[in-house]
């Protein structure tokens, strides 16, 4: 998360997107494990878990769309060398959403 914020501050959108995605996935993994949602290291299951965690009141927002957007952009960079395009969303907006998920995961881990 810190790395994502650092890269965003430095204006490196490519790395910011990569670290943001990794942070979001780590937060979803931690929360999913705590709430008995199977992930099996599959991205599509993490997207589903993000929606389920919101439906269960664990996360204040459904982050499945953000997860899918970051995943698509990450793959575009990785395999096609494309620059990320978050559309109407700014990386700062995305980081606020992800930070909430990370903080929720940290709080649940401490319980």
């Amino acid at each position: 998360m810190t790395k994502a914020q650092d890269e965003a501050s430095a204006g490196d959108l490519r790395d910011a997107v990569q670290w943001s995605f990794a942070s979001l996935e780590a937060a979803i993994d931690a929360l999913a494990e705590k709430h008995g949602i199977a992930i099996e290291e599959k991205h599509w299951r993490r997207a589903g878990a993000a929606a389920e965690l919101h439906q269960n009141g664990v996360l204040p927002k459904d982050l499945s769309d953000l997860h899918e957007l970051l995943n698509e952009e990450r793959k575009g960079m990785f395999y096609e060398g494309e620059d990320p395009d978050l559309g109407d969303l700014t990386i700062e907006d995305a980081l606020i959403e992800i930070e909430t998920a990370v903080e929720t995961a940290e709080a649940e881990a401490e319980r």
């Binding site: 599959k42 960079m77 990785f78």
Partner: protein, 262 residues
Amino acid sequence: MTTGESWASLAPRRGALTSLEPASPRAWSDRLLFDRERVSRYQSTQVAEITEAVQRRARAAGASAAILSGSTARGRRTGVSDLDYQIVGRTPPEVRDLPEDIDLYADAPERFWAKLRDGDDFTHWSVWYGCVLFDSGIVRDAARWIAEHDAWPDPERKLRQAHHALDFAARMAESGDYGATLEQARGALSLAARWLLLSRDVFPLARDELPEQLTEVGLAELGRVLHRCIHERPSERDLREALAQARLITEAKRSGPRRLAA
């Protein structure tokens, strides 16, 4: 040997597609038959249902062609395999609701051709080894064009991708996130492997086949490491060493990667 058998043994070597004469109506008909057999043989019931949905949605969106690509088309799916599709059409079909990690490349015909000319290896891969699900003729024309021009994926594109991916994977390894590091390392090492093979006129097959292909060209150690990243959970230290080794190979390109890698 019949033409159908020839498609089954299409060698991953530069020029091999040309020898099958894809411009011949008989040869292409055999290819489509071979593809239908593979689609039937290599897919589980669940994967087949997803492919059917992708195909149906691509047709409804007005696509010119759809190809099942990647490890599934080779019958080499692993626990970490995605489902890969190449669609030729202006409107990408919606697949986000389908229960699998799907990599779907939907390209308008002009972009599909541009990617072939630019040496995009996934586009070439789909034409060489993918299973054609339906085709208005553009995939057949692409195969004919590749054969006539001895067209080949651009190794330099792969090298650039490998550089970026190895760099990021090495930084991810420092973060302590093992799962993300393993995934990044697997992807980065695969990119490096594909570059190494393409630059030796060997067509890289499915990810699970790369270790054997690397061994065949004298890169057994890299092959072993990649195999472990696909099928095992190497230690963080092993991952870091593997990434460093791959980085050394890619950076040594100008001074002779074959000598260093061996």
